[in-house]
Assembly symmetry: C2
Homo-oligomer: 664 residues x 2
C-alpha cells in the first residue's frame, strides 16, 4: 500500500456519482470535464494525466491535466461514441521541472549553479537510461553533456529549452507514479438527451370532431408539429383499454357504453402491453407513424410505459402469481386508502416469481424498441422497486444505449434522483409547481450546481394531463406565455401537453389541479385555429432554441440580479470558455401575470468584454426589438398583456473591435 | 446483485470520509450521529437499523434508526472505548406496519376490512413461522386467531396494540433485508482531542534572569500554568542543538559563542531526536517533568517533533543515504531558492532506503511515547510526504490510540485536510490570519458545517513563535483580548505562545510578522508580573471554558446576526437536542480594537423557548454583568478599552416555568 517513491496523492476525482457506485452521464458530443485534487508535500512540480478509454478500447488515451487553482487539476475529453467511457488519474512529481524552477531562481539571484547543473545533468542521464528510443537516448546524453560543459548562463537557458523539456517530459520515472486506482465510468446518452422539445398528444383526439382519432389522423398532424419545432411526440399508453371498472368522463366511476376509458387501464381481450388499442389502428399503422415521424420530420414518437393492468389484461389470467392475492382469493387492486382504484391491478414486483415478472416487463421495452420506439415516458416509476429499474434499464442499455427514458416521478427528491442514477435519462421535475423567483432560483440552483447535474436531466413541463397548476388556472394567457418561456429557456429539455396548453385551457375541477373534460377519460375536439392560440409564439420560442446553442444546454444557467422580486433574470452562454464573439442569451421574465412590472437588470459586463463606458446592443429575439444599452444596469418594463418576457442575444466583445461589431 | 425481495436502497451513509477511504474521527464520549438516505418505492413503511461494533467485538449492536425528514434516517451511539468502531446499515420494508397504516385508514373511512384482517392474520402467521421462541410463536398464532375472530373494531385496535406490534417487529423477514454492504470506520481519539487548552513555552527562558532554563525551572511554573487553566504545556524541540551554521540572535547568520541557537537545528555530538539538550537537563529530568505535570496538574507535556537535522546530527554520519546528496558530494541543505538554510538538512523521504528511514522516524515517536509523552506537535508536516504520515501515524495508532498529534501545517487547505485524514488529530489553522467578521464567519462555516468536521479538528492560535500577526502588532492590548476570546470560544481547542502573548508583546521586525528578540534564537527574561498582563483575564476565560460544556465542543458553533460589521456574534449550545434548561453560550466580540462599537444582537428566541413578550436574563461571564433583555433584538456597546467582548450564558426555558427560573 505504501511506497516511498510515490509521493503524490489523488483525491476526489470527478465526475463521480455516489463514490463511483453509479456512472456519471454525458450525451454524445458533450464534454467530460475531469477534475481531481492532486496533492504533494513541499513545493515540487507535479504532472498529472487523465487516462481514458472507450469500452471497446484496450489502450488508454493519455490526456495531460492542468492545474487550475488550489490543487485542483482538470482535463477534458468529448464523448464521440455511444459507448461507456472509463477514466482514471495518474500523477507524479516531476523532478526535472522542480529542479529547473530552483535553478532559475538561483541563477536570477546570481548564485553559482555549477553543482545544480551537474545535478540536472544526472537527472537527464537517468531519463536517458529509461528511454527505449535510441535517438532520444543520444539526444538526452548530448543535453547532459552540454549542461556540464556550457557557460552557466547558456546552460540555464538550454535546460529550460523546448528540446530537453519535451524529451524529459516523455520519460518520467514510472516508479514514482501514483494511480487513483479505480476506473470511473461515463455512461453515454444520445444527443437528444441533452436537447429535446416534447409535444404530448392523445391520438384519439386527433380525429375529425369527436370521431376516435387514430395513428393515421395523428400522422396528418406531424407536419404542423414539426414546423413548430417539436422533435418528440409523446403518446399516452397505446395499448388496449380494459372495460372492467372502466372510468367514465371526468373520472366518474360509472362509464357509459360510449365512454372510451383511460389509456392507463391497460389490457383487454385485445391484448396487453405488447398490443395496440384497435381503435387507434394496427401495429403496422403504429410502426408507419414511428417511421414517417422519424424519417420525414426528425421526430421521435415516444410512448408511455405504465406497468399496471386492467382486470381484463391477459396477464391476469396467464400469470396471477405476478399480482398480490388477497385472502379472499381476489387480486389486490391499486389503492391509496381510503381511495380504491379497482380498474387497475399493480404488479407484485416482489412476488415469488419476480425473476419471471421482471424479465417479462423488460421484454415490453424490448418489444417496442424493435418496433422503432427510441423514447419512453415511464409512468409512476417511483411506485416500482428502485432495484428493478437499475436492473431493467441497465440490461436494456447494454444493447440499446440510444434509448431515452423519461421518469414520470413527481415524488420526494432523493427518490427522483435515485431513479436517474438507476438509469432514467430525463425526469419530470418540481418546475411544474415552482412559480416565484425565489422558488425557481433555489430549485434550479440545486439542479444545476449540485451533484444531480452529473446524472439527472430535468425535463420541464408547465402542464400535463394530470396537472393544470393553479398558476395557469388563474393567470390567463400571460401565465401560459410566462411558463412556456421559463420551461423552454431554463431547461434544454421541455415539453407541453397540447393542445390544452397552446389553447390556454385553464378550467379545472374546482379545488383541484385536474382538467375538466380531461382527455384521460374522453375524446376532445380541439379547435387548433382558435384565436389566441399560442402556436405561433411556441413556434418562435422553439426556433430561438434551435438557433441558439446557449439554449441547448441546461448546465450553463446562471442567475443575474434584478431589483424586482417579480422579475427573474438569467444568462446562458454557448461556451463555458468565455471566448470573444461567443453568444450570451439573457432571459428576463415578469413572473406576475396580472401586472406590469419594471425592473433594473444587472449584467456582468466585464465578463462580456464590455466596458462600463461603452454602448452595446442587445437583440430581443421574442419581440424582435433591439436595445442599445450602456453600463451594467438597465431598466425595462414588462407588461404581461404585451410581452411578459424577453430573450436577449448579446455577443461577447472581441478584444479589438469597432462599434460595428456589436450588430449581429 | 439484484434480488426482487430486497426493495430498499441505502445511500450516502455518514459519517464517511472520502468514500470510506479514511475513518471518521470521534473523541471518547463523543456521539456518532449516523445518517443515511433510505429509499423505497411507493408508500410502504420502512425499518432501518444501524449495526455497530467495536473492533474487539464480533457481534454488532443493533440500533433502531429514526426517520427525520425527506428520507433521511438517523441513529446515534457514543464512543465508550479507545477502539475503532465499525458501523453499517440495514433496512427493509415492514409489511405489517404498512398493512396497519392502510387498515386504520380504511377502518376510519368505515370500509369493511374483513379481507384486510385476514391478510394481517397471514402476515402474523408468517412471522410466527420465523420465530425461534416457542412462546412468541404461540402468542403470534393467538393474535392471528383473534384478528380473524374478533369484531372488526376490536381487531383493528388489537392489530395496533403494543403486544403484537412488538412481536412483529422482533421477527422481520431476513430475506427482505437490504444491507449497505461496506462497514464504515470511526477512529477513536482521546477526550483531550475534543477539548484542550495549550500553553507554548521555551523551557530555556524559564530560568532566573538570562540563565539557561531547564526542565526543572519549567517544573516550578507548572502550578501557575495549571491554575490559569491550561492542560497542555507544549515545548519547542528539546533535543541537542547543532553548532554548524548556528543562527545568532534575530536569525543572524553569524552566531556568537554565547548564542544558544535554534531548537529546530536538531542534533549535535550530544545526540539527535532521541536525546535531550544537555543544557535543559537529563532525560530523567524530562521524564520527571512529564510525570509531575500529568499526575499533579493534569497537564500533558507536548513536545515538538521536527524531522530535520543540523549538520552535526549523528544521522548525518551514520545514515548519509537518508539525505539528498549533491553532485559535489555534499548533502543538500534546506532551501527555498534563492534562500538557503544551511543549518538544516531535510531527510530524503524517497531515498532508496526509505523503508529504513521511515521506520527510524516512527521509532522517534515511539521513543517519546515510552517516556510518557502523549501529545506531539509536528513541525511542517506538509513538507514530508503525505503517504509517510498515513503510514507512520496509522502504525503508531494501532498500539497507541491515545496519542494526539498537532499538525503545524500552514499551507493550502486541501493539504491541511489531507494531513488530518492521514492521522493528525489537531491542526493549526488560518484563524491566525482571519480578523474580519466576514473572514471569520466564512472560515468557521467551512470548518464546522462541511466535510472537515468529521476528521479535521482545528486548534486556534492567536500567535506562535513564528507569527506575530499585524492585528496584534498594531491593535494594542484590546487586540490581544479580542483574539484570545475568539480563539477560546470559537474553537474548543486553542493555545497561546506565552509569555509573549499574555504580556502583549507586539514588537515585530519591521515589515514582517517575526518577533524581535525572538525566543527561537535567544533566551528571554520575561517579567511575568508585568502590569497589564493578560494572565488574570486568560485565567477567567479558561475557567469559563471549563465550567460551560457548550465551549468544550467546536461543531456546535452557530453565527447569529448583528447590524454592525465590526461585531461578531455567535452561539454555542451544550446539547444539540435543544432540551429545556440546557445552556446556551452567546459570544459577542467587537473586532475593532481601536474604537467603541454599538451593535444590535439578534437572538433566535423561539429556539430558546422564550416569548417575544417576556423578559429574560443573560449573564455576561466576562464582565460578570447581568442584563435583563426583552425581544430578539438587543443593543449593546463594546468599548475596546473597557471590554471588547461578552460571553453570555442563557438557559433555555422550561415549558412551564416561573420568572424566577430565569436566574441562574
Amino acid at each position: 500500500m505504501f511506497d516511498g517513491k510515490k509521493r503524490v496523492v489523488i483525491e476526489n476525482p470527478r465526475p463521480r456519482v455516489d463514490d463511483g457506485r453509479f456512472p456519471a452521464k454525458r450525451a454524445l458530443y458533450e464534454t467530460v470535464e475531469v477534475k481531481a485534487d492532486i496533492l504533494v508535500d513541499g513545493h515540487d512540480a507535479l504532472r498529472a494525466v487523465c487516462l481514458f478509454r472507450r469500452e471497446s478500447e484496450q489502450e488508454h488515451t493519455v490526456l495531460e491535466m492542468t492545474h487550475l487553482v488550489n490543487d485542483l487539476w482538470t482535463a477534458e475529453f468529448q464523448i464521440l461514441a455511444m459507448e461507456r467511457y472509463y477514466f482514471t488519474i495518474r500523477a507524479w512529481v516531476d523532478p526535472y521541472a522542480s529542479w529547473l524552477n530552483n535553478l532559475r531562481k538561483k541563477h536570477e539571484a546570481r548564485q553559482d549553479v555549477a553543482v545544480e547543473l551537474a545535478d540536472g545533468a544526472l537527472l537527464i542521464e537517468q531519463a536517458a537510461a529509461r528511454a527505449p528510443v535510441q535517438e532520444d537516448r543520444e539526444n538526452l546524453h548530448r543535453y547532459a553533456a552540454m549542461l556540464r560543459e556550457s557557460a552557466q548562463g547558456d546552460a540555464v537557458l538550454l535546460a529550460g529549452g523546448a528540446g530537453v523539456s519535451e524529451l524529459m517530459a516523455r520519460y518520467p520515472d514510472p516508479n514514482t507514479f501514483s494511480e487513483y486506482g479505480q476506473e470511473l465510468v461515463i455512461e453515454p446518452e444520445p444527443a437528444k438527451a441533452a436537447f429535446s422539445t416534447w409535444y404530448e398528444v392523445f391520438p384519439r383526439s386527433t380525429g375529425m370532431g369527436l370521431a376516435h382519432g387514430t395513428f393515421a389522423t395523428l400522422e396528418e398532424l406531424l407536419p404542423r408539429i414539426a414546423a413548430a419545432g417539436f422533435d418528440v411526440v409523446y403518446l399516452p399508453p397505446v395499448h388496449p383499454i380494459g372495460s372492467t371498472f372502466r372510468k367514465g368522463k371526468d373520472n366518474s366511476p360509472d362509464a357509459g357504453p360510449d365512454d372510451v376509458g383511460s389509456p392507463w387501464a391497460i389490457g383487454s381481450e385485445d391484448g396487453g402491453h405488447k398490443s395496440v388499442h384497435p381503435q387507434l389502428g394496427t401495429m403496422e399503422d403504429f410502426e408507419r407513424l414511428v417511421t414517417i415521424a422519424k424519417d420525414k420530420y426528425g421526430i421521435d414518437v415516444a410512448i408511455d410505459i405504465a406497468f399496471q393492468c386492467s382486470p381484463d389484461h391477459p396477464y391476469v389470467q396467464e400469470h396471477p402469481e405476478w399480482f398480490r392475492m388477497r385472502s379472499d382469493g381476489t387480486i389486490q387492486y391499486a389503492e391509496n386508502p381510503p381511495k380504491k382504484y379497482q380498474d387497475v391491478y399493480p404488479f407484485n414486483f416482489e412476488c415469488d416469481d419476480w425473476i419471471g415478472l421482471w424479465a417479462e416487463l423488460k421484454s415490453i421495452f424490448k418489444f417496442w424498441i424493435e418496433r422503432g420506439v427510441r423514447i419512453f415516458r415511464v409512468d409512476n416509476p417511483h411506485t416500482k422497486p428502485l432495484p428493478f429499474w437499475e436492473w431493467c434499464l441497465g440490461e436494456l442499455r447494454k444493447e440499446h444505449p440510444e434509448i431515452i427514458y423519461l421518469s414520470e416521478a413527481f415524488t420526494r427528491p432523493k427518490i427522483m434522483y435515485r431513479l436517474a442514477k438507476a438509469g432514467f435519462t430525463h425526469s419530470y421535475t418540481y418546475f411544474t409547481w415552482r412559480n416565484s423567483k425565489q422558488e425557481l432560483t433555489q430549485y434550479l440552483t440545486e439542479l444545476v450546481e449540485h451533484a444531480p447535474r452529473d446524472y439527472f436531466r430535468p425535463n420541464f413541463w408547465p402542464n400535463t394531463p394530470d396537472i393544470l397548476p393553479e398558476y395557469l388556472q388563474y393567470g390567463g394567457r400571460p401565465a401560459f406565455i410566462i411558463r412556456l418561456v421559463l420551461a423552454a429557456t431554463l431547461s434544454s429539455n421541455y415539453g407541453i401537453y397540447g393542445p390544452a396548453f397552446e389553447l390556454c385551457e385553464n378550467e379545472a375541477v374546482p379545488g383541484t389541479i385536474d382538467y375538466v373534460h380531461s382527455e384521460k377519460y374522453e375524446i376532445r375536439d380541439w379547435n387548433l385555429e382558435q384565436s389566441g392560440t399560442l402556436w405561433p409564439f411556441l413556434t418562435l420560442v422553439n426556433r430561438i432554441r434551435r438557433e441558439n446553442p446557449a439554449l441547448q444546454q441546461t448546465w450553463n444557467l446562471r442567475f443575474l440580479p434584478t431589483d424586482n422580486d417579480f422579475v427573474i433574470f438569467f444568462a446562458k452562454e454557448s461556451s463555458e470558455k468565455a471566448e470573444p464573439g461567443s453568444e450570451v442569451i439573457l432571459v428576463a421574465v415578469n413572473l406576475d401575470p396580472h401586472n406590469p412590472q419594471t425592473a433594473t437588470l444587472t449584467l456582468p459586463l466585464e465578463e462580456y468584454g464590455i466596458d462600463e463606458s461603452q454602448t452595446y446592443m442587445v437583440h430581443d429575439l421574442l419581440g424582435d426589438d433591439k436595445f442599445v444599452w450602456q453600463g451594467r444596469h438597465n431598466r425595462l418594463d414588462f407588461d404581461p398583456r404585451q410581452l411578459p418576457a424577453r430573450i436577449f442575444r448579446l455577443k461577447r466583445k472581441l478584444k479589438r473591435e469597432t462599434d460595428f461589431d456589436y450588430f449581429m
